[in-house]
């Protein structure tokens, strides 16, 4: 069995894993499992007692909470959008693609305007020069 993230829990983890796999293949997969009568429950409790401490020490309990919050956030974003209406289903891409497209087109417009000014200025200078020479 692969190791536990906390080496001190390896022994209890292994007992539980072996029990679980046996139960899963012999009972659950054959439709003979019930939700109450689980022979691995006691082993699982021991294992969790050990693992809970390790998860706290390593700050993984906090990571788990964050992952749960993130889920809520994603649901709020994507489910919320789905409900808006199907005609706006492209919104997901819009927030990403449009700002950069917008920036590019503004940039292109600026460059264009710059050259336009140059040309206009160039021609005025030319006309002024030619008027002077004349």
């Amino acid at each position: 069995m692969s190791a536990s993230l906390a080496p001190e829990c390896n022994e209890v983890k292994e007992k539980y894993d072996t029990c679980f796999l046996k139960w899963y293949s012999e009972k659950y997969l054959r439709g003979a499992a019930s939700s109450e009568n689980n022979e691995c429950a006691a082993l699982f409790k021991n294992y969790q007692k050990c693992l809970g401490v390790a998860l706290k020490q390593r700050g993984i309990d906090k990571l788990l909470d964050e992952a749960r919050d993130d889920n809520k956030e994603n649901d709020a974003v994507y489910l919320g959008r789905k409900y808006v209406s199907s005609t706006r289903s492209t919104r997901r891409g819009r927030s990403g693609v449009c700002p950069s497209l917008l920036a590019l087109s503004v940039l292109a417009a600026l460059i264009f305007a710059f050259f336009l000014t140059l040309i206009v200025m160039g021609t005025t200078v030319d006309t002024v020069k030619s008027s002077i020479t004349v």
Binding site: M1, S2, A3, S4, L5, C9, K13, Y16, D17, T18, F20, L21, K22, Y24, S25, E26, Y28, L29, G31, A33, S34, S35, E36, N38, F44, Y47, Q48, L51, L55, I60, L63, L64, E66, A67, D69, D70, K72, E73, A76, V77, G80, R81, R91, R92, S95, G96, P99, S100, A103, V106, L107
Partner: protein, 238 residues
Amino acid sequence: MVLTHTTNHTYTHPFPTVTLAYFLRYCSPHLNPFAKHVLSTDTISSHIDPDTGRLHTTRIHLKKSRLPPAVFKLLPVSITGGNEANKASYILETSVVDMREGWMSTESRNLNFVGVLSVIEKQVYTVPKQQETQPTAGTTDVETTVVFRSRLGDKIRGRLGAAPAQQEDGANSGGFFARLGARGIQRSIESLASSKTVDQLGKSREGMGIILERLRQSGVMGVLEVVRRARERSVENA
């Protein structure tokens, strides 16, 4: 920004065996040579829903980092959290098995580095339609969807609630070059990670294949015996 990758595969093994192989896949490097990057596996919850009879399981895996090295080079140490030795990531795996209806649905996501890159892999294992009458014979279909999302430079926390509106505000603040740069990096991280994951999906499939073959040859108790012997040997050597 989001990048999605979907693949389909059919295992030539019956559905119950495939679900068992799923739980066994990180069991031991002796069993699955493609699981050497998995450092540990822990179950944090497991219960049967009394109404539906579905088995819900949550596990945490510690894997050597799945962030490709190129991504690490791209980022400052303050974000990646340091050197090679630290490059391990916690993966949260949730799965639901419904033996009566013949499907298993799984989801894996990384717990750290989510600000740099979040990878969510979803798999749905099903008994093909024409075999529903005898689920113990035949094949199993699996659809894998991986979603890559980099939120580097985005405000992640504290915008629960009116999220869509605020997100667009956030995207429009700051100069465009800053924004363009952040988007560009996000996109490169996503595509780098995506091409690496496509390789890895092949390996994970091969790993499942090896376990399935072992299960076919010697059954679950045989497999557990192999694992037990391998462990005893490693204890003796140590």
